[in-house]
Symmetry: C2
Subunit: 360 residues, 2 copies
DNA sequence: CTGAAAGCGCTTACAG
DNA sequence: CTGAAAGCGCTTACAG
């Protein structure tokens, strides 16, 4: 056991100097190269390389010989060598441009990350995760990207004032963003949920359920989720709805939900429903309602957004709008792939789904 | 705007063939190489390389000249070329060995991921995220690791029967695991929370609060969190505690918590406290308690584990045990780094913290 | 302290 | 269809 507990294994042996080879070589186990395969198959390395790649212009005989030799020797291509000549990294950076650590507590985020990783994996490409929350992290990311270590970038959680987008665009690396960009970075293609439509469907549902004083807690208005979901609310309630029924949360946290609900209750004690722009905010709102002696859903109906694990941890469980983050991730990768292939990038909007549970 | 919308930019230009250079070269913008820097500084590439690396045996004059030339030309090292010769990738794989997608909904997971990424970033190394939930994904991971594309691996959520650990050990790549490994993979160093101590502190707290019939919902017993937290419970309650007070959840989900609590209530209707092995399980348990007409914490006190966002979404908010996932991530990277440097790896256990809120 | 040179493992026009 | 050869951008003993 635990061979890895010895110093000898801790570090990969450096490449031996050409002139100092000999006895040491045996111990190296460097793995077969394309030359070994060529020798084994009785062809040139050029031919091996050809079957490795597109593989046109290779005779069936040569191909099978090479394939057998590769299997036999356990050959695996050295990506560094390949990248050095092709300048394609076969990897994509997933850049999290979020100063707060909060994002990482957002289950949506990890679902997105997973689906991107998986979709990339199916194309045999890798995801390198990078943080860009501080200036120094940002410059590291930029250096990394500019050095060509990735073929493209997936952008997440970029804010209006984020300088990274512009810098990235300047360096002309293919990029796609999760969710519509506000402000700068307008040129970056995006894929996102139908925030506005989803919000509309929820508010519409509340209205059909007979609610008449429907308030809303919007998300922060410097995020697409904040503004688009509010717009969806207004689509149904009408532009002319009382201002007192609308409040924006300071951020996406539970505490912000409590704070917003408190304000709402003061401004409009007679509300009978709230559409809240995220599940976590909604959980905060529900806590305040309970403390205020309002029963959910009898006195006040509550609708959330996300369908995160939190939606199922509240009591009663949240009626909410599911956004298919897995689909979003898949499409982000596809759009990026399209850009690699020279296609004109498109923006994609994926539909949401109303999930009815106990709060409305 | 949107220069990235043209086909020309979508794909990086291939390296020009040496013989076909000329006019095309101007358009390439390949970025300066070590040769350009050398020329600019009036030294040889060997010298440039030396200041790039350890930088011993370089005269102050040469060094400053090179540094200025690098700044001036905007030089950035080509990692592929470097890796090709040094065989060090400057990257680490974060391998998620979890067949279920559920893990990605676990906030703990993303916090861990973030802290690993950050710690790595501070060492100017990269994290590549890999999924290993299916057989094909696993073989991709193995190929990748064996090809030397990473210097080491960070293992997460490996189960007893997981074949990956053994395969990884066989290929002798430095590895560290998050949490104690059960069964195979015993040789892999790990870093984890003090699950047992944390559980003990919670149960002890419940006991001091005057609870006398303290039950527990353990996590799945094929996970370290499942068994160690149960052991902590037993440390306080005693080995001889009634069997009816102990139930293990099928998995870590809300539903499993409901199911377990239901069984517990049937077996021991007179319980006055439950220590639950995770916050999400606890949320499920609380829902069942409420439906059964038991008030929390008056009739039944509830203690969770994790201090995840869910802990703050329940009503009342959960009294729980915080595990410092950020610290765990940091230490995972440090231990791995130690292995790289030839140190004997150690296991590290980080302390937990009791967080008292409303349920107990 | 430093330059010249070999080599890391691949890809790709070129000339059969 | 295939081999020989150049080159990708770096590092590192070697011999000053």
């Amino acid at each position: 056991m635990a061979e890895n507990r010895t110093a000898a294994v801790g570090q990969r042996a450096p490449a031996p100097h050409p002139k100092s080879r000999g006895a040491a070589r045996r111990a190296m186990r460097k793995g077969p190269t394309i030359d070994d395969v060529a020798k084994l198959a009785g062809v040139s390395r050029g031919t091996v390389s050809r079957v490795l790649n597109g593989a046109r212009y290779v005779s069936p005989a040569a191909r099978t010989a090479v394939e057998r030799a590769m299997k036999e020797s356990g050959y695996v291509v050295n990506q560094s060598a390949r990248t050095l000549v092709t300048r394609r990294a076969n990897a994509v950076a997933f850049i999290v441009s979020e100063p707060q650590e909060r994002l990482f507590e957002d289950p949506n985020f990890s679902v997105l990350l997973r689906s991107c990783t998986q979709e990339l994996g199916e194309r045999d490409a890798n995801l390198v995760l990078m943080l860009a929350g501080t200036a120094s992290a940002r410059s590291r990311v930029l250096r990394f990207v500019r050095a060509g270590h990735v073929d493209g970038v997936l952008l997440v959680s970029t804010h209006s004032g984020d300088p990274l987008i512009a810098q990235l665009q300047e360096s002309r690396v293919p990029a796609v963003s999760c969710g519509r960009s506000l402000g700068t970075g307008v040129g970056v293609p995006y894929v996102g949920a139908d925030d506005r439509g989803g919000a509309r469907s929820m508010v519409d549902y509340l209205r059909r359920a007979g609610r008449r004083r429907i308030a809303t807690i919007a998300g922060p208005l410097d995020t697409p989720g904040g503004v688009d979901r509010l717009d969806g609310y207004r689509d149904v309630v009408g532009e002319d709805s009382p201002r007192r029924l609308v409040v924006a949360a300071a951020d996406w946290s539970h505490a912000a939900g409590e704070e917003a609900m408190t304000r709402l209750l003061e401004a409009s004690p007679d509300l009978d429903a709230v559409f809240v722009a995220s599940d976590l905010l909604a959980a905060g709102a529900m806590a305040v309602l309970r403390r205020a002696g309002r029963t959910v859903p009898d006195d006040v109906a509550v609708g959330g957004f996300d369908d995160s694990p939190v939606a199922v941890a509240t009591d009663p469980q949240l009626t909410t709008v599911r956004q298919p983050l897995d689909l979003i991730g898949t499409h982000m990768v596809r759009v990026l792939q399209g850009v690699f292939e020279g296609q004109t990038p498109v923006n994609v909007i994926v539909p949401t789904e109303l999930v009815v549970r106990g709060t409305a």
